[in-house]
């Protein structure tokens, strides 16, 4: 059974009196362990699709099933829990909590879960900080880190809960090519070792070479998968 299943998904945005269709009937299935890229020109609906898969946004119509949950029927609270327990996010602009240091940012989702002891949470966060090469920066605030370091913190934070899915919206867009390559290598490595499903959107052709599968979107429709 697919980890993610979208059927007839549409998304319309209301801009004043005009309705702008962002997605026009998306049918996609994604299986566990895939390393998948969503590509398409600007305004094609990539980010909207990622947001719907990530339960950050809701579909106007159609069915979205994530890890066996029909998302269209879930409440805000249930969708938030689904994001916490099943999905990790790596945003284009890093999006770290500015007042927390590296280790606290990584710990944050585990603290929200409140299932493990503080020591266990700290150990898990330290392991991941080391895994992304930030063990020497654990007490630095985001403002004291480079773009690549911040993105690595975001990756560690996305991984800390052992999610089934990691969504990355143009994860290398704000990084230099070398740092971007390092980040992608890290993601690929985690995909291989942890069997985590990675879905990322990109414009960058170099990023695409890492993808096992590519979904092309244009004008809100899947053109090739």
């Amino acid at each position: 059974m697919a980890l993610i299943h979208l059927s007839g998904v549409t998304k319309d945005y209301q801009l004043g009196e005009t309705i702008v269709p962002a997605l026009r009937g998306i049918d996609v299935s994604i299986h566990k362990g895939e390393f998948l890229s969503i590509i398409g020109p600007s305004g094609s609906g990539k980010t909207t699709l990622l947001n719907i898969i990530g339960c950050i946004d809701t579909a106007s119509d159609g069915t979205v099933i994530i890890a066996g949950n029909n998302v269209t029927r879930l409440s805000d609270s249930e969708r938030t829990s689904l994001r916490l327990y099943k999905i990790g996010f790596i945003f284009q602009t890093f999006n770290l909590i500015p007042v927390l240091d590296v280790i606290e940012n990584i710990e944050f989702p585990l603290l929200l879960m409140n299932r493990e002891s503080r020591d266990a949470i700290r150990r898990r966060a330290m392991d991941l900080a080391a895994a992304v090469g930030l063990h020497s920066h654990i007490h630095h605030r985001p403002a004291e880190l480079s773009g690549g370091q911040r993105q690595r913190v975001a990756i560690a934070r996305a991984l800390v809960t052992n999610p089934d899915i990691i969504l990355a919206d143009e994860p290398t867009a704000n990084l230099d090519s070398q740092t971007g390559a390092t980040i992608l290598e890290l993601m690929k490595q985690l995909n291989t070792t942890e069997k985590t499903t990675f879905i990322f959107s990109t414009h960058d052709p170099e990023v695409l070479q890492y993808a096992q599968r590519i979904i092309k979107i244009k004008d809100g429709k899947v053109h090739d998968s």
Binding site: G54, R83, L96, E104, L112
Partner: protein, 490 residues
């Protein structure tokens, strides 16, 4: 985590934190001092009026329509209490009643050399009973307090000042020498008439008043509200009754047939003298014997002190129930009702203070709400991202509550602390007034704001309410921030 996050957010947005903190500090400082002034006013009024002047409850005649019996306008007479002994017995039967003092309150006149009348307000009492009821109620300026059933007059300083203005007379207690130091500025012993006796003309709507000569035993002042209560001088009840024409009935008096006939002829004297027909013997025989008057004294108030001053209303209710069940023509009212506009003025000032505190309270809420709402809107990315990675709306709410609570505890606590210290300072300054209105505002002659545990509790409660109300709308805004908002903003 919430603690760390909140504290660090406050430090990160220290400008806004300081703005909110300053408002909380100033607000709680003003609220604390305001509450203390209100408490001081309440306590002062209770101490001075209730303990020293008029008691907690006043019993009046059922026939008395206006309840503001002390400062009733235009010198209107206060109805006498009929069946006083029975009323007193019923009132004192209430186990919460500690003191019940009958008082005759009314006015008499004094004439100056030109024959112009000047009114004088008197309280007719049994002196010893009065001293027992209000042991701290009067200060002797000159002379000595009479005791027992002695006749005499305790002339208030204010009345003496007014007598000086009106008739150039300066009363000095009998047997005492003139204390020149007490003479007002510009007055010398040679320019005034020194007297120890005052002639009072009774004032009674029953046309039975007399002129009496009252000897001044002492010049007194009241420890508080002397400018107001000082209108009242205190006189022995027998002199008061005599002056105002109240008399004791003699139920055992027998009227002979001859006297009755004479009395009947006297009653019809006008008819006899001015052409009327003299009554026949039969008619005279039909004249009923004279009825004993029911009003036996000028007592028209009973000042009652109770053991449970916080339960005045319920004791008033109980006394009224008892009086009613005994079918007695009297009713109890609270001291506030008896003081009428005077109490209203004091409570108006209390209301003004309370209104001021409430305005401070509302301004604090509005400014804090505004600042926090702006802060919430500026933190859309941060809050939206937290929501995206799994923070529930409840977490966002708690974060805002925690941040505001920290500010409230630190700055509000500081405001209360500085308020308490300021009140201590104000108490030590011993600010005095003799102005009648300011005295009402102070609750007495000295400004004594009071801070009690209840006031501090009230301050904390107000701070809590400000915090909760001020944070409600910002929380509403913050809770509505979705992960999508954060992404859209980026």
């Amino acid at each position: 985590m919430l603690f760390h996050l909140s504290v660090r957010n406050l430090l990160r947005h220290r400008g806004k934190s300081l703005v909110i903190g300053s408002i909380l500090f100033i607000g709680t400082l003003i609220m604390t001092i305001g509450n203390a002034v209100i408490s001081g006013l309440d306590t002062g009024l209770a101490l001075h009026f209730r303990q020293q002047l008029c008691g907690d409850i006043v019993v009046i005649s059922s026939d008395q329509i206006k309840e503001n019996v002390f400062f009733i306008p235009m010198g209107e007479a206060v109805e006498s209490i009929n069946q006083l002994d029975e009323v007193l017995r019923v009132v004192t039967q209430n186990n919460k009643v500690r003191v019940a003092l009958p008082v005759a309150k009314g006015i008499v006149f004094v004439l100056n050399e030109d024959g112009e009348p000047y009114f004088q307000m008197l309280l007719g009492v049994r002196f010893n009973d009065y001293y027992r009821a209000f042991p701290d109620g009067i200060s002797v300026i000159e002379g000595h307090l009479p005791t027992g059933n002695t006749r005499g007059l305790l002339l208030s300083t204010k009345s003496r000042d007014e007598l000086l203005t009106f008739s150039n007379t300066w009363p000095v207690p009998k047997g005492e020498t003139l204390v020149t130091a007490n003479l007002p500025a510009g007055i010398t012993p040679n320019t005034v008439t020194i007297k120890s006796e005052i002639i009072f003309m009774g004032y009674s709507d029953r046309d039975t008043s007399l002129d009496i000569i009252s000897t001044v035993n002492a010049i007194i002042s009241y420890p508080a509200f002397n400018q107001l209560w000082g209108y009242f001088s205190i006189i022995d009840i027998d002199s008061y009754n005599e002056c105002n024409g109240y008399y004791q009935p003699v139920p055992s008096a027998k009227i002979s047939a001859k006297d009755r006939e004479l009395l009947a002829n006297y009653t019809h004297l006008d008819d006899i003298l001015f052409g009327g027909t003299p009554p026949s013997h039969d008619a005279i025989a039909d004249i009923p014997p004279p009825q004993t008057e029911r009003v036996k004294s000028g007592y028209n108030l009973i000042l009652v002190k109770i053991d449970t001053p916080d339960a005045i209303e319920s004791v008033v209710h109980e006394i009224n129930h008892d009086l009613s069940s005994h079918n007695l023509p009297a009713r109890a009212i609270t001291w506030k009702a008896a003081l009428g506009q005077v109490a209203q003025m004091a409570f108006l000032m209390r209301a003004v203070l309370f209104g001021f505190v409430t305005i401070v309270f509302l301004v604090a809420i509005i400014v804090i709400t505004n600042t926090l709402s702006l802060a919430a809107m500026e933190r859309v990315s941060e809050i939206g991202m937290m929501r995206a990675i799994g923070a529930q709306r409840r977490f966002v709410s708690l974060m805002f509550v925690a941040e505001t609570s920290f500010l409230s505890i630190i700055f509000g606590g500081l405001g209360i602390g500085v308020g308490v210290i300021s009140i201590g300072g104000l108490q030590h300054m011993t600010i005095r007034t003799s102005n009648r209105l300011v005295e009402l505002f102070f609750g007495g002659p000295v400004f004594r704001p009071m801070i009690t545990a209840t006031d501090i509790g009230l301050g904390l409660l107000q701070l809590g309410v400000v915090t909760v109300v001020a944070v409600t709308y910002p929380i509403y805004i913050a809770r509505r921030i979705s992960p999508n908002d954060a992404i859209s903003r980026d």
